[in-house]
């Protein structure tokens, strides 16, 4: 059965690519040498999106192979937890933000205090010890908003 996403996703791609091309042509007014290749690729993508939408509307959308492992629907909680890492890093920096995120996530998802603390400490060791001290990656230790 056709899902709404099968139509919405190519529509989104079409809209984003078309908007970018329009900005290049009419706002930035790039010369043909500058915009030529992106224009060719963009128009190709837009045309293919239209073909894809038409195919989906007429019931010719690609179907999953019969013996394919079905993908479980993602939970909003999982998406929220994944994206929560960004505010943690902004608020506490890469080193402490990552460790605090791990501690919070693991405790909130039923992992024992002991294991959560061990994993968070290991994260501190890896980010600070391996990346900053050993590999000399200039990773901000202080909060990013500082």
């Amino acid at each position: 059965m056709m899902s709404r996403g099968q139509i919405i996703f190519p529509c989104l791609i079409f809209a984003v690519v078309a908007a970018l091309l329009a900005s290049g042509l009419f706002v930035y007014r790039y010369s043909l040498t500058v915009i030529g290749f992106p224009l060719g690729a963009g128009v190709f993508v837009c045309v293919m999106c239209l073909v894809d939408i038409a195919m989906s509307l007429t019931g010719h959308e690609p179907k999953p192979p019969a013996n394919d492992m079905p993908l479980e629907p993602l939970s909003w909680a999982a998406v929220a937890w994944a994206f929560a890492l960004v505010p943690f890093v902004i608020a506490f920096g890469f080193v402490f933000g990552a460790a605090l995120y791990l501690l919070t996530y693991l405790l909130a998802n039923g992992t024992s205090w002991r294991l959560s603390a061990i994993i968070a400490s290991a994260s501190l060791l890896v980010t600070w010890g391996l990346f900053i001290r050993l590999m000399r990656v200039p990773m901000p230790v202080a909060p990013l908003w500082w």
């Binding site: 996403g5 099968q6 996703f9 190519p10 791609i13 690519v17 970018l20 290049g24 790039y30 010369s31 040498t33 500058v34 290749f37 992106p38 690729a41 963009g42 190709f44 993508v45 293919m48 073909v51 894809d52 195919m55 690609p62 999953p64 192979p65 013996n67 492992m69 993908l71 479980e72 993602l74 939970s75 999982a78 998406v79 937890w81 994944a82 994206f83 890492l85 960004v86 890093v89 890469f94 990552a98 995120y101 791990l102 996530y105 693991l106 998802n109 039923g110 992992t111 994993i119 994260s123 980010t127 990346f131 050993l134 590999m135 000399r136 990656v137 200039p138 990773m139 901000p140 990013l144």
Partner: protein, 495 residues
């Protein structure tokens, strides 16, 4: 020449050189296991330690770690579905489904032996071609490179069979995204919206990790269960690994074809490892029976990219040593290492130091074998990762992906982009848009534009009328049409 080769063998197996290489190998393996951190990072980290070393000792130190990085990257690609290096993304396509079926060991065994054999093949090519390489590499100018890149694009269709239109959208989108930032001829920034980060365009590492790693992490977070969840999960043992190694010997044709392709792509400066792995994968899919089962755990889908990737590294050393032209960004850094150690690669290098050039090839081959053997020893504990509950593993992986992404260019915006591309990857996975096609389009798009414009300026509108360029076109057409020859002849016959 034989004298130089024998002398090289003697130098490589000197205890100091061996010790330097064996010391650097574990560093490469650890770097390879960290998502987003590539061989370039390993070289950048190790180069300062080579000051004051004997040239061959220093180079053994650098190459030892470099050859090991890709082995580590293959492990994360198979076990976690997260490419350690961008070229490892092709291994994810069939390696990770095998891990999900509880057959990670099988995939790991195949990947390691294919890598080792590919690496040895690449080094053999290096040894054979070094003395005669100069005219060959110089014969490949912009028009030939343009057609080589176009040949890579032609395989997008193969990567996306089953959902051809969606594969073409993905490939086209990849090309489109690669064209952001400064244009190659006039230096005018495109689609940057006065956002300084975008002046250099979309970055490869956030794109690759976003497309492949974030969907895996989110799936693990959602289910909370372990990665290996098949109906018939086999117990973790080295036996699976041996079975995987046997599979490489059984599919020797795939291994040999992919190694040859990898070595050829490596020899061409600037085309790169990502192209080699994805084109090898597409070729394996094209030539194997039941191509529709690729992407669901076909062992040829692991063997092909692994063999191509390591053969490409040997190939990339050819222009670096013979002409002083780095075959890839890692080779550019290695070139810096040569200069620090008092050597100047180029045509003169081969006349003065042919023994060192051969020694480097032997180090590469030996490094590949030792790295594969070490990884095989580590494979059992690594396979245990597939049995860790997702609710524990997922946040650890996410943190590693974010830190790895940041470390690649030390830019916080890369972290935001990894999430944005992660959303794109999730949608693509769920609606059957080939993520591999997008990545291949992205890698080749910018190269195609650059080589096309340079060819046009340097050789005029008939730049394609060159024997090598036309041969490449003919070979690509043959490669694409040969497996479908029966279908084509059937079309020609009356009903």
């Amino acid at each position: 020449m034989l004298d130089a080769f024998l002398s090289a063998g003697g130098q490589v197996f000197h205890p100091t050189v061996l010790a330097a290489m064996l010391f650097a190998l574990p560093i490469g393996l650890v770097v390879g296991l960290l998502p987003g951190i590539s061989g370039i990072s390993a070289l950048a980290f190790l180069i300062p330690f080579t000051f004051g070393m004997e040239p061959l000792v220093g180079l053994a130190f650098l190459l030892g770690s470099y050859t090991a990085v890709s082995q580590g990257g293959s492990m994360t690609a198979i076990v976690l579905g997260i490419p350690g290096e961008v070229p490892n993304a092709a291994t994810v396509l069939d390696g990770h489904p095998l891990a999900k079926q509880g057959r990670a060991g099988y995939a790991i065994g195949a990947a390691l032996l294919a890598s080792a054999l590919g690496g040895i093949f690449g080094c053999l090519i290096l040894i054979l071609l070094l003395p005669v390489m100069q005219p060959v590499v110089l014969a490949f100018a912009s028009p030939e490179n343009f057609f080589l890149c176009l040949a890579g694009i032609a395989f997008i269709g193969v990567l996306s069979s089953g959902a051809a239109v969606r594969g073409l959208i993905a490939g086209g989108l990849g090309v489109f995204l690669s064209l952001f930032g400064y244009d190659p001829t006039e230096g005018i920034p495109r689609f940057w919206f006065h956002f300084e980060y975008m002046l250099d365009g979309v970055r490869l590492i956030p794109l690759a990790l976003g497309l492949f790693a974030i969907p895996e992490v989110l799936a693990l977070m959602t289910s909370g269960k372990q990665i290996a969840r098949g109906d018939s999960i086999e117990p973790i043992s080295y036996r699976q690994g041996f079975q995987g190694a046997v599979a490489v010997l059984k599919h020797w044709g795939t291994s040999l074809r992919s190694s040859s392709l990898g070595a050829v792509i490596g020899v061409m400066p600037g085309i790169g490892g990502v192209t080699a792995t994805f084109v090898a994968y597409a070729m394996a899919r094209q030539t194997a029976g039941n191509p529709e089962t690729f992407g669901r755990g076909r062992i040829e889908g692991v063997i092909a990219p692994e063999a191509a990737k390591n053969a490409e590294e040997g190939g990339a050393l050819v222009p670096t040593l013979a002409l002083g032209i780095p075959g890839s960004s890692s080779m550019a850094l290695l070139l810096g290492g040569f200069v620090i150690l008092g050597l100047q690669p180029g045509p003169e290098f081969l006349t003065k130091h042919l023994d060192i050039a051969f020694a480097l090839a032997i180090i590469c081959a030996f490094g590949n074998v030792v790295a594969s053997a070490s990884m095989f020893m580590l494979s059992k504990p690594l396979m245990q990762v597939t049995r860790i509950p997702g609710r524990v593993l997922a946040p650890i992986l996410l943190v590693l992906v974010v830190i790895g992404t940041y470390s690649a260019q030390n830019n916080s915006y890369d972290v935001l982009w990894v999430f944005i591309f992660g959303l794109l990857g999730i949608a693509m996975e769920r609606f059957y848009y080939s993520r591999a096609a997008l990545l291949l389009g992205f890698v080749l798009g910018e190269l195609i534009e650059r080589y096309f414009l340079v060819s046009l300026k340097a050789h005029g509108p008939f730049f394609f009328m060159r024997p090598i360029a036309l041969t490449i076109v003919a070979l690509v057409l043959l490669g694409l049409l040969w497996p479908n020859r029966h279908r084509i002849t059937r079309l020609g016959r009356p009903a």
